[in-house]
């Protein structure tokens, strides 16, 4: 058995005339907290979706916990948890019913589902239907659904986007806790402070390629700048992205 949780090799994905992912290779160690940074449209979401096994790459392979993620492998899906960038819920169901439904797919008890709801601070919103949750509450529910079955490997696509400062700090604590239990966490974020405090290593992406990988401190000192934000701007430029 290899000790790496994720091995991605030469991933490429094209949408029409957009080369969304253009030869991405990276490795994430078991138990590592890994961040993917990059401007809008850099290809972060597409990369994650390929690695998760949600999309077939045009080229390249991704292995999770030693197994290929494409074609679909339900045994592997049990061991990973995914929060997609856009939340997806069943219509007309309350928060509690949503998470219990997801829990049932993994044979996880209702009690455990309710506890998960508690840990993202949604207990008093348990009986609210999905379309009446605020953006941040929906985001927290989506994260809770991704974590409900205690996955060994967790993918979070911009988990803290839209969260208030309290919810953000609480989520950080939750993610640190599950990471300290030995689980591997991969997230994307546009908050550099978040990447700096949480991630063991970050990869900076642009135009479908990984530009640089390393621990935040190391990247900062390598480039001789003051913060991770400077690293980001140094690597990806200052112009707007389309």
């Amino acid at each position: 058995m290899t000790s790496s949780a994720i091995t991605a090799e030469g991933l490429r994905k094209r949408y029409g005339d957009v080369q969304a992912v253009d030869g991405v290779s990276f490795e994430v160690e078991a138990g590592e907290f890994y961040g993917i940074l990059g401007p809008n449209g850099a290809g972060k979401t597409t990369t994650l979706e390929i690695v998760e096994g949600l999309r077939e790459p045009d080229e390249g392979t991704a292995r999770l916990l030693g197994e290929l993620s494409w074609p679909r492998n339900t045994a592997l899906l049990r061991r990973i948890g995914v929060q997609l960038q856009a939340s997806a819920f069943f219509e007309k169901l309350t928060a509690r019913e949503q998470i219990r439904t997801f829990a049932s797919f993994y044979d996880v008890s209702d009690e455990r589902a309710d506890a998960m709801l508690e840990s993202v601070g949604l207990t008093d919103k348990a009986d609210v239907q999905d379309d009446k949750l605020s953006g941040g509450q929906a985001q927290r529910l989506s994260i809770a659904c991704a974590l409900v079955h205690d996955p060994e490997l967790v993918f979070l696509d911009e988990p803290t986007t839209g969260l208030d400062p309290q919810a953000r700090r609480n989520l950080w604590d939750l993610l640190r806790r599950i990471n300290s239990e030995g689980r591997t966490v991969v997230l994307t974020t546009h908050y550099m402070d978040e990447a700096e405090t949480l991630c063991d290593r970050v990869a900076v992406m642009d135009n479908g390629k990984i530009l640089r990988v390393g621990p935040p401190r190391e990247l900062i000192s390598d480039l001789g700048v003051d913060s991770l934000e400077d690293v980001f701007l140094e690597l990806t430029g200052r112009e707007y992205r389309e």
Binding site: E52, L84, K92, R100, T101, S104
Partner: protein
């Protein structure tokens, strides 16, 4: 097993919490049945009403059991005087006026409805002849024994129940499967479920199970309402064959919904496409009125419609005493439809709206 159960629950809750879905799937067709059943109650029945003035011996001497037997066809009303009775005939409130003057029975019928007038004449004539024979004190030379043949023309409720039920099931099954597919794709739930360790069989199984459940509820409610005496549906021998028939019809119309759901990008376009598919089909298949009056070529065309097969077979087993020989071919055709349309839907299927 737990996955199947919770997916079914999710679909069930999604349906019953959608007030407009419950209305259109269940209540709307039922309202049609209640309304049509009440509106067309007298239509087709040949029950005539006679206004009687003063004593008329042939009528007055009838015993309760004879009156009971006549009740299906004849109702006797008392009228105050002859002018009143004739006026009622003129107004169409009653079908005939009758009185007796010294053994001479006078019967006045309306000239506008020869069929009903004939019925009244026939009945009264029969009663008079019977009374005459009885008066002679002799055994009648000739007697009639009446047998019954299931008639091609039916009481309105015998026609509306299977027709409207077919329409209701077609709507319920096709709308539920199309809207589930479109909504789940649009809300990215299909993608999300791809990442959960569940199989397509469980999702499809839950959808089929919930739709079959809905159809059976529709069947039970329709039959339950139609057999109350006010509506007076009479179920014929093999009515239980409607259960497998409705099940096959449900599968066929779920497949119709799948094709439309796989093609449509939004709920609105799925809704529109379903309306223009199901409603004309319901008309052509005789859900709302008999299609005997349709031009021949249209009748031929209507035989490629799954709802036509469902309606005909349902009518046959519910109202005309039909059996396996009527139900089996229809079930076969419906299952064939289901298989072909599902294959087409699988070709059109997309995971996301992009």
């Amino acid at each position: 097993m737990r996955t199947l159960r919770s997916l079914s629950k999710v679909m069930y809750l999604g349906m019953v919490r959608d007030k407009s879905a419950v209305f259109f799937m269940l209540l709307f067709p039922l309202m049609f049945l209640l309304l049509f059943g009440a509106l067309f109650q007298s239509e087709g029945g040949t029950r005539v009403t006679v206004a009687q003035v003063g004593d008329v011996e042939v009528l007055d001497q009838l015993g309760d059991d004879q009156l009971g037997a006549l009740d299906e066809t004849l109702r006797i009303e008392r009228a105050g005087d002859r002018d009143r009775a004739l006026e009622d005939v003129r107004q169409g409130d009653v079908d005939a006026a009758i009185w007796e003057v010294d053994g001479e029975i006078e019967l006045y019928v309306s000239a506008s409805d020869p069929a009903r007038s004939g019925t009244v004449n026939g009945i009264v004539n029969g009663l008079v002849q019977e009374a005459n024979v009885a008066a002679t004190g002799q055994e009648p030379t000739y007697r009639i024994t009446a047998g019954q043949v299931e008639d091609e023309s039916l009481k309105a409720i015998q026609f509306f129940t299977p027709g409207l039920l077919g329409w209701a099931v077609a709507m319920g099954a096709s709308f539920m499967s199309a809207l589930t597919l479109v909504a789940w794709r649009k809300k990215r739930l299909l993608r999300r479920l791809w990442l959960a360790p569940i199989g397509p069989g469980q999702v499809i199984g839950a959808r089929v199970g919930v739709s079959l459940g809905l159809s059976m509820v529709q069947l039970a409610v329709f039959l339950g309402v139609a057999i109350i005496p006010f509506y007076g549906l009479r179920l014929t021998g093999n009515w239980w064959l409607s259960i497998p028939l409705i099940a096959c019809g449900t599968l066929a119309f779920m497949a119709v919904g799948l094709v439309i759901g796989a093609w449509a990008k939004t709920e609105e376009s799925a809704n529109g496409a379903l309306q223009i598919t199901i409603l004309p089909m319901a008309f052509l298949s005789g859900s709302f009125f008999p299609t005997d009056g349709m031009p021949g070529w249209l009748q031929t065309v209507s035989h490629v419609l799954p709802l036509k097969w469902l309606n005909e077979a349902m009518m046959s087993v519910l109202s005309r005493g039909g059996g396996w020989s009527d139900a089996l071919p229809a079930m076969g055709v419906l299952l064939l439809f289901a298989a072909v349309l599902t294959a087409i839907a699988a070709k059109l299927f997309r995971w996301d709206s992009a």
